[in-house]
């Protein structure tokens, strides 16, 4: 969250706060715009900073602490869960320290030498008082957002690690750095890889006589190594040493007097070049302030602490920032939905046009039909009730439709049989007074009824003894099939000797007809309670 907020800023103001004053670096659009030193917030040239703050209200402010009164306290913490190490250490620190302290903790390493497998932690804290309080009070009235308060030695671990060459990144992992800032003076810091373990300001008067200063520095280095050995309970400790000193003191450092296993001495200008800042620091420059600030501006800082006031300000800014982000997302969603609805609206417009077009077509058709109907009414010469006529005709159609009769069959029968040729004829037509089937609509009528019926007839035709009964039967079947193509006709030979009719055999012709087969789409209802129909066949049950 912090990174997101930070990355949004195009300009930053970084202050390296020390006991002697504060070094200021104004970073704008990715480049260093200005850098200067202020002895105090009330200094004469503080107006320069005020102007920057007034003009660039969106510039974010980073405060890096480099003053004397900050403590770095290595401590063993018996913790099993690595994720809770720092939290537990901070909780302990909260008990020990008054409320008005800025504090943080950084785990350094899991200490294998100890039988309890404790973690080595560095507790870092400083009282919230001058000079920090003075600078915060100076900055708070301005609209610029204070992104956090950082401990410079802690953050510098990253910078010094990145300055090491490939060979130096190998063992040993303990690393002592001595550098000098204008804001505070000489500082000695011990890192395990890039994690701060110990840091303190060396006597500010050191720099007055170079030889003495060099000797004191040697002593400080050796004392620090001894202190580290005691703290870690080790007899031997491999330590690499980096001294960032200018040419006044560096020649007087006696490397053979140092207990470190390796040592390199660089000027601030050399380090600046190594880190890619060609013209940031002059060759004769003693102080590292601006290089540290420039690196802090370009790197991800590790740990921000806040006062209650800066914390409220930061929280408000963070919530506002994410609310703005969310509103952007919501806007994108709403715009997408709007586009979709616009597209749908276009479809609706086309739909409405289509409906209106169809409507005008139908209205034209309606006018045409009404006009035809009117012409038809006018064409009737007699004054008659058209509705009554229509009903009479409907009933007429209903009564005459499917009005089958056996007379046709009988007439055909006479043609081939001759007079008195048949012995029996039976014709059945299922009751035409059938209950009306709801689904059927009589063609050309408003009467919803139909005659669903089946027809069965059979006749017995005697055959003379000298006639081949099979040939005769086939001839009769062929005749009826031709005469009544809609009937299903079957012929069976009846071989019983009927003495009364003096025939020896007969042909029985069976005929059946079911118009239901032609009414596949007709919905035939079952009237099982009256025993009239079955739904499948529509025939009598």
């Amino acid at each position: 969250m912090w990174r997101s907020l930070s990355s949004e800023a195009s300009s930053k103001i970084l202050l390296l706060i020390g006991d002697e004053g504060a070094s200021v670096l104004y970073f704008r659009n990715g480049t260093i715009d200005s850098r200067f030193f202020l002895s105090s917030p009330g200094a004469v040239n503080a107006d320069k900073l005020k102007n920057i703050l007034r003009e660039d209200k969106e510039a974010q402010v980073y405060l890096l602490l480099e003053h004397l009164d900050q403590a770095y306290e290595p401590r063993m913490v018996p913790i099993t869960n690595p994720l809770g190490v720092e939290r537990a250490s901070l909780a302990q620190l909260n008990k020990e320290l008054p409320e008005a302290y800025l504090r943080t903790a950084q785990k350094i390493k899991k200490f294998h030498a100890n039988i309890n497998r404790d973690w080595l932690i560095c507790n870092i804290y400083t009282p919230y008082e001058s000079p920090i309080a003075n600078w915060i009070e100076f900055l708070l009235p301005f609209p610029n957002l204070i992104m956090g308060i950082y401990f410079m030695p802690l953050e510098a671990g990253n910078i010094f690690v990145s300055s090491r060459t490939a060979d130096e990144t190998l063992e040993p992992s303990w690393h002592i750095v001595i550098f000098r800032t204008r804001a505070s003076g000489y500082r000695i810091s011990v890192y395990y890889n890039d994690k701060i373990a110990i840091s303190r300001i060396i006597n500010p008067k050191l720099h007055e006589i170079p030889e003495v200063s060099a000797g004191n520095l040697e002593m400080e280095v050796n004392n620090t190594i001894d202190y580290l050995k005691k703290t870690l309970a080790l007899d031997e400790l491999k330590v690499s040493l980096t001294l960032l000193l200018n040419d006044e003191i560096a020649p007087f450092i006696r490397l053979d007097k140092l207990e470190s296993s390796s040592c390199r001495i660089m000027t601030p200008a050399q380090l600046s070049k190594q880190l890619g800042y060609e013209h940031l620091i002059a060759e004769t420059e003693k102080f590292l302030d601006h290089l540290l600030l420039a690196e802090a501006a370009s790197k991800k800082l590790q740990r921000a602490v806040h006062t209650p006031q800066t914390h409220r300000q930061f929280k408000f800014a963070t919530y506002t920032f994410w609310a703005a982000r969310l509103s952007h997302l919501a806007s994108a969603l709403v715009i997408t939905m709007s586009l979709y609805l616009a597209f749908e609206s276009y479809g609706k417009i086309k739909e409405i046009n289509s409906y209106r077009h169809s409507l005008s077509d139908y209205e034209a058709q309606l006018r045409s039909v009404r006009s035809k109907a009117e012409i038809l009414r006018l064409s009737v010469q007699q004054p008659i009730n058209l509705s009554k006529v229509s009903e009479i005709v409907d009933l007429y159609i209903f009564l005459t439709k499917n009005n089958v009769s056996p007379i046709d069959q009988i007439r055909e029968l006479g043609k081939i049989s001759g007079e008195n040729a048949l012995s029996a004829y039976k014709w059945e037509f299922n009751d035409p007074m059938l209950l009306i089937t709801n689904g059927a609509l009589v063609e050309g009528s408003n009467i919803r009824a139909d005659r669903v019926y089946t027809l069965q007839s059979s006749l017995t035709i005697p055959v003379a003894a000298d006639v081949d009964i099979k040939l005769r039967g086939e001839a009769i079947r062929a005749f009826y099939a031709k005469a009544f193509p809609e009937l299903t006709i079957s012929v069976s030979n009846y071989m019983e000797n009927d003495s009364s009719l003096q025939n020896t055999s007969s042909v029985i012709v069976s005929m059946s007809y079911s118009p239901l087969s032609k009414l596949e789409n007709l919905e035939v209802y079952s009237f099982s309670n009256k025993g009239r129909f079955s739904q499948n066949h529509g025939g009598e049950e």
């Binding site: 952007h328 609706k348 006529v389 229509s390 009479i392 409907d394 029996a424 209950l435 009528s445």
Partner: protein, 202 residues
């Protein structure tokens, strides 16, 4: 006085975000309102179209029916001249007698049920169907006599005759006998009855 946590940068971002969101919301609401308006219009247009289509269908149907009815009415003199008085039962007996004599039938028996009105789902705004179930039993010399009698009976009876059962059986083959064939016919006889004419009797 401005609170200490007020921050120009954050507020500018917030203002910008809210402005964009508000504008987009306004655009959405406008588009949504427009869409709803179109949706309602579309529904109304669709309903009007369906209603109009239904009216056209009804009008066409009515027109075709009217055209068919008039066509049948004008070309069917018998139907046009029908008195719509229901079953003419009185005319049945002389007619049967006449044709049974003509075709040399014997023992002709005619029976009818009392006339009834059909209670089917006809609209019956003007006309009823009156019907009666009937049966004719008779003997004949030949089968052809029986067929011819039935042909004449069907052709000359007023109204609509539907034969439902026809059974003819050969009894003998005597040349001069009137009882060689026995025939039984069951039928349904129907006729149209003017509603206004039916009222006084009902």
């Amino acid at each position: 006085m401005r609170p200490v946590y007020f921050n120009q940068y954050a507020m500018r971002k917030m203002r910008l975000g809210l402005t964009i969101f508000g504008t987009s919301l306004l655009v959405f609401l406008s588009v949504f309102g427009f869409y709803k308006h179109l949706d309602n219009s579309s529904m109304q247009s669709y309903n009007s179209m369906v209603k109009s289509k239904f009216e056209v269908s009804n009008a066409l149907d009515g027109f075709e029916r009217l055209e068919t009815s008039l066509n049948i009415w004008q070309n069917n003199e018998e139907l046009r001249n029908s008195p719509l008085r229901g079953l003419n039962i009185r005319s049945l007996q002389p007619m049967v007698q006449y044709y049974s004599t003509k075709h040399l039938l014997g023992d002709v028996k005619v029976s009818l049920t009392a006339p009834e009105l059909r209670k089917d789902s006809f609209k019956n705004n003007f006309v009823y169907i009156q019907y009666s179930r009937g049966a004719i039993d008779f003997y004949s010399r030949t089968d052809v006599d029986a067929y011819r009698f039935m042909e004449d009976f069907s052709a000359n009876i007023s109204g609509y005759l539907q034969i439902v059962h026809f059974d003819i059986t050969k009894l003998s083959a005597e040349p001069h006998s009137k009882r060689n064939f026995k025939t039984r016919v069951r039928f349904i006889w129907q006729e149209l009855l003017d509603k206004d004419y039916a009222k006084p009797s009902n």
